[in-house]
């Protein structure tokens, strides 16, 4: 029954209390919600927990969902806000570590052998660099790069103006580039020089640290 329903029908059914319909929505959106949480929070366990809580929040707020908006945008907005809240709560519990600059926070964590292996992975490295950005910068980058949000949508989500979002995205890129140029001391596989990171896809093989260096100079 539910499998054959389109998204809006699923949403309507879920709003009227059909749990199977909501389960179908979970199955459909587990991946984007999980990936947004993962890039925002940086750790797989946190992303799993956050995803669960996001879907629970969404279920409880279904009656407030405006059906004229895309469901995906609404759901990812909930996820984005939830991740920001979670990061801020986490920071309150990590006051001593937060007193350090971001690269020192990473250096202060002792990487275990498993982490060392994971850091070789491009995806993990991107996540790690994202964690160096302030959460509001990180959110803009994540929504723009991986969820195809337009400036207007991000502005509506964050309550900022479109021009503020544009400049935030620009600053976020510059900061990313600076971090990549500086590298992350104490982290295996960190970018120490131009040759250490290359884009792992065809046609996109420029060393990114070079990009970082150039941007940092500009």
């Amino acid at each position: 029954m539910v499998e054959g329903l389109d998204e809006q029908a699923c949403v309507h059914a879920a709003r009227s209390g059909d749990r199977r319909a909501f389960e179908a929505l979970i199955t459909r959106y587990e991946r984007p919600v999980y990936n947004l949480s993962l890039r925002m929070l940086g750790r797989a366990e946190d992303a799993e927990d956050a995803g669960q809580e996001v879907f629970l929040k969404a279920y409880r707020a279904l009656s407030a969902y405006d059906t004229s908006r895309p469901f995906s945008t609404w759901l990812l907005s909930i996820a984005a806000h939830h991740c920001i809240d979670r990061i801020r709560r986490r920071r309150m519990h990590e006051v001593s570590l937060d007193a350090l600059p971001p690269w020192r926070q990473l250096a202060a964590q002792t990487p275990d052998p498993e982490d060392v292996a994971v850091y070789q992975d491009h995806s993990s490295r991107v996540r790690q660099y994202l964690q160096l950005l302030p959460e509001d910068y990180r959110l803009v980058v994540v929504l723009r790069y991986w969820h195809d949000f337009g400036y207007a949508e991000i502005a509506a989500l964050t309550g900022e103006s479109e021009s503020a979002i544009k400049s935030r995205l620009h600053r976020a890129r510059r900061q990313l580039a600076e971090h990549m140029t500086a590298g992350v001391p104490g982290m295996p596989g960190a970018i120490d020089g131009v040759e250490s990171v290359a884009v792992p896809t065809a046609g996109a093989s420029e060393p990114v640290a070079a990009a970082g260096a150039a941007m940092a100079r500009s």
């Binding site: 991946r31 799993e48 991107v126 991986w146 337009g150 400036y151 996109a204 420029e206």
Partner: protein, 158 residues
């Protein structure tokens, strides 16, 4: 054309003229979405179900307080019926009787619908039986004697 230029609202061409920034964009874009862990959707569904069934802490606390208060009334009312012979007095003050009956009824209802306390070890059926036993006891001790007293009074009337 870089993917970014095709984005909605994108007036990033001036930025993209910088080939280095384009490199950074490509590096970020090359990070593809990962699959959630196996069985993640099922875990999320189970979590949502469990959370929706769970009684929120504030409501649980309210129920405990309500149960304690109305339980106190129930005990006082029962004791007064048994030892102070109030069921005779109550016939002359029907409003008081109604008030105490309602309070006792609330106590029994709270017992019946409250979640089993931790020391009950989650044995919901046993807890339900205990609540039903309390309800029967309540009826037997407080309502039945009043009915009997009323009948006795009627019998005594000339």
């Amino acid at each position: 054309m870089n993917m970014l230029t095709a984005w909605p609202g994108g007036d990033e061409d001036h930025e993209l003229s910088d080939e280095h920034l384009a490199g950074l964009d490509r590096w970020l874009k090359a990070d593809l979405d990962v699959d959630p862990p196996a069985g993640y959707a099922s875990r999320v569904i189970a979590y949502v179900d469990a959370e929706l069934r769970r009684v929120p802490p504030w409501r649980r606390a309210l129920m405990v307080i309500g149960a304690l208060l109305s339980g106190g009334v129930l005990i006082a009312w029962t004791a007064s019926q048994l030892f102070l012979d109030w069921h005779q007095t109550m016939q002359s003050t029907p409003m008081a009787a109604v008030f105490l009956d309602v309070a006792s009824g609330v106590a029994v209802a709270l017992l019946a619908f409250a979640p089993p306390p931790a020391w009950f070890g989650g044995r919901t059926a046993l807890y339900g039986l205990a609540a039903a036993a309390v309800a029967v006891l309540w009826f037997g001790v407080t309502v039945a004697p009043r009915g009997l007293a009323q009948r006795a009074m009627l019998r005594r009337r000339p």
